[in-house]
């Protein structure tokens, strides 16, 4: 999703992660993870094998994998854990992989970038890199289902009461708002099967909940959730005449703003939903 539909998020993520001292190595042969919602449910064995190939590529270079997508995290972490513990399945997958010259060994770790930030860097380190704190900015966090669930695989946060993303937002000087539908899924599957009307209702409810809690913007670490709150908000607002706008920023965009990048430099101008009062707030720091 990000490289093709949201390259501005790739661009800002490369910048901010680099600024934090995280060296990103491109592996050209990486393919789509593949996604856990459509592909993962359609053909489990092919899904596991393609994911295992991606992991094997990183293993060949002796590198861990960092992702900027909840779906990629879930696919690769599930594959990693499943094949490390189910030796019969690992054998089956490796037999297929050997036909394309790879072998899954189970030697590396996969983490979402938010997980790397909280576990490997820590809030203190992030605070030290903040040059332009987002003071008084009220942010609604949406961590997204596939980063917290299933909890024994993702090991990121409590799915019922997620707080990690909140602490990462607080590290930037911003304030998070608590809202009723915080753990509700963004409904991405509706977009895939063409259930636009249902999706518009879901997003109307979720966005209204955020707005009523006082959110001036949304943040997430998932590009699919991002699309729901950007393009999806535009479509829902049109159908239901929503009288508010709550622009969404990927966490790396918020981090970029806090590091001192401008609104243009973090790619905000590519968004479908933009709000003047949010822009004024950020630009007046």
């Amino acid at each position: 999703m990000i490289p093709i539909k949201l390259p501005h998020i790739e661009s800002v993520s490369r910048k901010v992660l680099g600024n934090l001292g995280i060296e990103l190595v491109d592996i050209d042969a990486f393919t789509c993870c593949p996604d856990p919602v459509v592909f993962g449910a359609a053909d489990r064995l092919t899904w596991l094998t393609v994911a295992a190939r991606n992991i094997a590529l990183a293993e060949e270079k002796g590198l861990n994998i960092i992702t900027v997508c909840n779906g990629c995290s879930q696919t690769l972490r599930m594959t990693n854990k499943t094949l490390k513990s189910d030796l019969e399945l690992k054998g089956k997958v490796n037999k297929i992989l050997s036909e394309v010259g790879y072998e899954f060994l189970g030697k590396i770790e996969v983490k979402h970038f938010l997980q790397v930030l909280i576990e490997d860097l820590g809030v203190k380190e992030i605070k030290e890199r903040v040059n332009a704190p987002l003071n008084d900015l009220k942010v609604a966090t949406h961590v997204g289902c596939h980063l917290t669930n299933p909890s024994e695989i993702m090991e990121f946060d409590d799915p019922e009461d997620p707080v990690v993303l909140e602490s990462l937002v607080a590290a930037l000087g911003a304030e998070t708002v608590d809202y009723d539908l915080k753990t509700q899924c963004c409904g991405v599957s509706y977009a895939v099967v063409g259930q636009r009307k249902s999706l518009n209702i879901l997003l109307r409810d979720k966005l209204t909940s955020m707005n009523e809690a006082g959110a001036q913007c949304i943040t997430t670490g998932c590009p699919f959730c991002f699309q729901q709150f950007d393009l999806g908000q535009l479509l829902s607002a049109k159908e239901y005449g929503l009288r508010f706008k709550v622009p969404v920023l990927f966490y790396s965009q918020l981090l970029g703003l806090a590091m001192g990048y401008t609104i243009e430099e973090v790619g905000y101008t590519y968004h479908k939903v933009r709000d003047e009062s949010f822009e004024k707030k950020v630009e007046s720091r």
Binding site: P3, T31, V38, A41, S189, V192, V193, G194
Partner: protein, 161 residues
């Protein structure tokens, strides 16, 4: 879309279902049931799987695999595993929506989940990030041949589904 499901077969494949006391916590937390209007976890799982033997709910793929039915089930029934197995069975029998099949085919044939457009390439150049090759690798096609996925996709296409 009717997917005949026999109770005995389902229980054999998913023994955790025997613990289900039909408390409906999964249904109450299911956003696909709440919003879709065509998907109802109570019917697809609690009633159809246990009582009728045929899944007559449309649109299994309204389920986003958010896993909240799994996380919140008080009896560790692992509901989501049954739903994923039903989706896989439906896909293998050529009963998945075209959009689902197209996305799988797109991934296998190019290595990307979405088609690359000239707009993408232009924007990537403007942002000074590496350009994307239109086709990543032949490996995925070979993997899909070995697993049988290619055969399933060809069959679905020839049936016009």
């Amino acid at each position: 879309m009717l997917l005949p499901v026999e109770y005995k077969t389902v229980i054999k494949r998913h023994p955790s279902l025997e613990k289900c006391l039909k408390c409906s916590v999964c249904h109450q937390n299911c956003i696909a049931s709440l919003y879709s209007g065509v998907y109802d976890l109570k019917n697809i799982f609690l009633f159809d799987v246990f009582t009728r033997g045929a899944i007559d709910n449309q649109n299994l793929w309204n389920c986003p695999i958010c896993d909240y039915c799994y996380e919140r089930c008080p009896y560790d029934v692992k509901t989501i595993e049954v739903l994923e197995a039903l989706k896989e069975e439906a896909f293998l029998k050529g009963l998945a929506p075209t959009s689902i099949r197209n996305q799988v085919e797109q991934t296998i044939s190019t290595g990307f989940g979405f088609p690359i457009t000239s707009f993408t390439q232009t924007l990537r150049e403007k942002l000074a990030i590496p350009s994307l090759k239109p086709e990543k690798s032949e490996d995925l096609k070979k993997i899909a041949e070995k697993t049988g996925l290619n055969g399933i996709l060809k069959e679905s296409k020839s049936k016009g589904k």
